[in-house]
């Protein structure tokens, strides 16, 4: 029992944190005060968690294998474009509409697509994602680019490519260049409403499959080994290049799945903005979930909980301050990542006794943290922004300043002794 607790302390801690944050939100937020509201909130959180969770799984596999994949945000935009592009290319013409420039031609009818069309589009999109992953693997294992560089190139390149492709596809089907594609098919767009569980099912099934792969198969063990010590893995006769191929393909294909779901959820694909910055959310979910960026450490359960924790906190902050959640996303993700990683690494090294504010850098950061607290309070308060900001900022300054002074006294005493 004790061993179980120790082994899964990270997951258990995250689970407890999720329950705690939800409980606090439920007490203070109106959204939870009716039964229906509660169910609605739960649905939204699960759906958003699943969307993030799906490609966070892929990001985590690459991180566990000792690499990094920065391309998932752009790949979401790219795969959404490929998926919707394929749909309108395959869709039958709608005879009731006419091109502006050519009355003989018709727009595609995306209202009631026969089932084979989305199925084919899905296969093509996943196929393209497989190619993207293979390309990354080639750049990394054969050309020997650092993973950061190889996938950074895709991060900027794929989005741009999607924006170019969508222009040509819309020109073919609509007779004019557009930067978005909208689909009206009932079945596909239903996942934004009553079909909210679709992404959850995809997420859970995918998690189960990847859990099996990572923790119960030889390949999974080898992925951990490679992440922990790549050279030792190679010298143990493990084909590290093939493993990397697998890891980057899993990452690309999960991102593509998320991209397809995301596009269907919105009903419109817009490669200029879709999935912007999501790669960092995925990496954050993995890191908060206990993956080490050095590789070799992390679990699927941890990543699932990490994604859920991120979403719950983002949602909670938005609910408590009654404004748009996406405005808070960056700040929340940033803080959580720093806190989670700092917590993990300090815990390992008997951390809290350590000096946090040494030297000039320490003093400067007392000011930075106080300023940050003040600004955060100010932007989240409804009225009296300046007063609340100053109040919180100054009290933080007093507390941290006191800590810095105490540390200096303690260290001087230590030297004397």
């Amino acid at each position: 029992m004790g061993e179980f607790l120790h082994k899964h302390r990270n997951e258990l801690g995250l689970g407890a944190a999720i329950v705690f944050v939800t409980a606090v939100t439920a007490v203070f937020s109106d959204a939870y005060h009716s039964g229906e509201g509660r169910i609605e909130v739960a649905r939204i959180i699960f759906r958003d968690t699943a969307m993030l969770g799906i490609f966070a799984l892929g990001a985590a596999i690459v991180i566990i294998a000792g690499g990094i994949d920065l391309s998932s945000g752009s790949l979401i935009a790219f795969s959404g474009t490929i998926f919707f592009g394929m749909l309108i290319l395959l869709a039958p013409d709608d005879p009731t509409t006419r091109w502006a420039g050519d009355p003989e031609r018709h727009f595609p009818d995306t209202e009631n697509l026969s089932l084979w069309i989305p199925a084919a589009a899905l296969l093509v999109t996943l196929g393209v994602a497989f190619l993207v992953g293979s390309f990354h693997a080639w750049l990394i294992t054969v050309i020997e680019l650092p993973p950061f560089v190889a996938t950074l190139a895709s991060l900027v390149g794929l989005r741009s490519l999607a924006r170019l492709l969508i222009q040509d596809v819309t020109a073919i089907e609509y007779g004019q260049r557009q930067s978005t594609i909208t689909i009206n098919d009932e079945l596909l767009t239903s996942i934004s409403r009553e079909g909210w569980w679709v992404s959850c099912v995809v997420w859970v099934v995918l998690s189960a499959a990847l859990w099996l792969l990572l923790s119960r198969t030889v390949v999974g063990r080898h992925l951990y080994a490679m992440g922990g010590n790549e050279e030792a893995a190679r010298l143990s006769g493990i084909r590290t290049d093939r493993l990397k191929w697998l890891a980057y393909c899993i990452s690309s294909m999960t991102a593509a799945l998320a991209g397809i779901l995301y596009a269907c959820y919105i009903g419109t694909t817009s490669p200029a903005t879709d999935g912007m910055g999501y790669e960092l959310n995925a990496i954050a979910a993995a890191v908060v979930g206990g993956c080490s960026l050095a590789g070799g450490i992390g679990t699927i359960a941890g990543v699932m909980l990490g994604a859920m924790f991120l979403r719950v906190v983002i949602d909670s902050v938005a609910k408590l301050f009654r404004s748009q959640p996406d405005l808070f996303e960056g700040v929340v993700v940033g803080m959580l990542v720093v806190l989670a990683v700092a917590f993990n690494s300090l815990r390992g090294r008997g951390g809290l006794k350590k000096q946090f504010f040494p030297g000039t850098l320490g003093l400067l950061n007392v000011l930075i943290l106080s300023g940050l607290a003040g600004v955060m309070t100010s932007v989240t308060s409804q009225d009296d922004k300046l007063r609340y900001g100053l109040l919180v900022g100054l009290s933080t300054l007093v507390i941290l300043g006191g800590k810095a002074v105490a540390e200096r006294i303690a260290s001087r005493r230590g030297e004397a002794a």
């Binding site: 198969t217 030889v218 063990r221 080994a225 010590n229 030792a232 010298l235 143990s236 493990i238 450490i297």
Partner: protein, 527 residues
């Protein structure tokens, strides 16, 4: 027992510049230094010798501030000091030249000499001034190095002189040299000794660490012998002999009798013919050149040679893990093979335990079970999934077989001592049921007791009919373990010795043999 050093003749005449008093240093699982006391006189050339693992390097790391925490006391010029970093030691006039050089390879030699205390003018780096000064330092040392050239383009011998130049520029009067000749050619060794002799004449105190008798007896005033972390004795060079020092260093001679007796080699299992390994972009062109030899079943063949001789590279060629593809012929059990990846070698039942365990062998974040089954995990599966139960049974079997001391298969591998970690890595490979086992310096960083156990394991494996190739940085170890010893020098096979011919002297002769065969016996300086 450590003998009080004050008793040696003449200690009272000159005041000691460095006093080490009852210093003890423990590492997890090993006592590296055990209550060592030592006095070094001003201006003397003091050799510290002992086998690998005797504690020489640990002692020097304490004196140079690399290791800040230890028990006991160190005094420099009569004042107690406790260095918390090499900077502190440098400020006290102590410089160290490490076995592994501490240079930034991309920077020029001048930049390296002044690293951390760069000369500036108007806030900008003054490369000219630094190069000028570096040049004058090199002149003092009587060597010709371009101060503007990046260090990576220089030979190891030149790189070492840069470290010496650095210590000169720091005006250190205590210079510690940690096995400085292990990577040098003979002419470079000569030059190094000229430089060191000159520094010695100028009154610099030199602490010279080595286990090579030739070097120790060349310039030393006094010699301190360490063994297993304890100070055995400090001797005056004029009153001792190589034999006595060697005897004190080894301290035990019986061990070699236990092994190798009654072993008989079987059929050839591995046949290597004209193996060469290219070295692109290097003046020597070949890391290994024209190497031919044979390994039989039930035979332990040792590979000896100085650092850079190509021991590791040769094993890598046989294992398919070399960076370049080797040329020549490798015949394994009657079939010609050319491995391009260790996985192919594994499939052909060739196993290799690598030199640097931490870097190339262990999976530090995994437990003992996972480390042991790494190469053979597919045997512990059921329906495609790993069965932890089977895996644990497999690990337990190895733990039993090799006597790995751990709390169980689930123990973190990092909680084990070096020797037991090494057993885990060996166990991993034994599970692959190899025909040929390649061991690259398997006892590095392993304490004395565990060494003996590893020797027994190797001997037992050999008797089971494995063909084993082993390298070691310690000649006594090869002499203990092997049936035959192949000696490499600069990538060429310069000698082969069979058991009756074994002696450190002869191996060293071959290991330093270049084009010409040396005919004169080694000089008897200092006797």
């Amino acid at each position: 027992m450590p003998q009080p050093t004050q008793n040696s003749a003449g200690a009272k005449e000159v005041s000691p510049i460095v006093q080490v008093e009852s210093v003890t240093k423990r590492f997890p699982g090993v006592v590296a230094l055990d209550d060592v006391s030592l006095h070094v006189r001003r201006g003397e050339f003091h050799s510290i010798c002992g086998e690998n693992g005797a504690g020489k390097s640990t002692l020097m790391k304490i004196l140079s501030g690399v290791i800040p925490d230890y028990e006991g006391r160190v005094l420099v010029r009569g004042r107690p000091v406790r260095f918390s970093g090499t900077r502190d030691a440098e400020a006290a006039g102590i410089s160290i030249i490490h076995q592994e050089l501490n240079l930034v390879e991309q920077l020029s030699s001048a930049a390296n000499i002044f690293l951390g205390r760069e000369k500036t003018s108007l806030g900008l780096l003054d490369d000219r001034a630094m190069e000028r000064e570096a040049r004058s330092l090199f002149e003092q040392l009587d060597c010709d190095i371009n101060p503007a050239r990046p260090v990576r383009e220089l030979r190891v011998g030149d790189q070492q002189l840069i470290e010496i130049a650095k210590s000169l520029s720091l005006e250190s009067d205590i210079l510690i040299m940690d096995e400085p000749t292990s990577a040098l050619t003979e002419s470079e060794v000569e030059r190094l000794f000229r430089v060191v002799a000159r520094l010695h004449e100028q009154g610099v105190t030199i602490l010279y660490i080595s286990h090579k008798m030739d070097e120790i007896f060349r310039l030393s005033d006094r010699i301190t012998v360490l063994r297993d972390g304890k100070l055995v004795r400090t001797l005056d060079r004029r009153e001792t002999s190589r034999r006595e020092v060697t005897h004190l260093m080894v301290g035990r001679e019986i061990e070699s009798v236990e092994f190798g007796g009654g072993r008989s080699a079987g059929d050839p299992i591995l046949h290597v013919e004209k193996l060469s390994l290219p070295w692109p972009g290097h003046a020597r062109q070949w890391r290994l050149e024209n190497i031919s030899f044979e390994l039989r079943r039930g035979e332990v063949v040792g590979l000896a040679g100085l650092m850079g001789a190509g021991r590791t590279e040769l094993l890598e060629c046989l294992f398919g893990s070399s960076d370049e593809r080797p040329q020549g012929k490798i015949v394994l059990d009657g079939k010609e093979v050319a491995f391009s990846h260790p996985s192919e070698a594994k499939a052909a039942r060739v196993a290799m335990v690598n030199e640097d365990r931490k870097q190339f062998g262990l999976f530090a974040q995994m437990n003992v079970r996972e480390n042991i089954t790494m190469c053979t995990l597919d045997r512990s599966t059921q329906g495609g999934l790993v069965s932890t139960r089977r895996e644990r049974a497999a690990a337990l079997e190895s733990i039993d077989q090799l006597g790995v001391r751990c709390s169980g298969p689930e123990a973190a591998v990092t909680s084990l001592s070096g020797g037991n970690q090494q057993k885990c890595v060996i166990a991993r490979w034994l599970k692959t049921d190899p025909k040929v086992l390649l061991l690259d310096d398997p006892t590095r960083g392993v304490d004395v007791g565990a060494k003996a156990e590893l020797y027994k394991i190797i001997d037992a494996l050999c008797r089971k009919g494995l063909g084993i190739i082993v390298t070691s940085s310690e000649l006594p170890e090869l002499i203990t373990l092997c049936d035959r010893i192949l000696v490499l020098c600069e990538g060429r096979l310069t000698g082969q010795l069979t058991r009756p011919e074994f002696s450190e002297q002869r191996i060293m002769e071959y290991a330093t043999m270049r084009e010409v065969v040396p005919s004169s016996p080694p000089d008897a300086a200092g006797e």
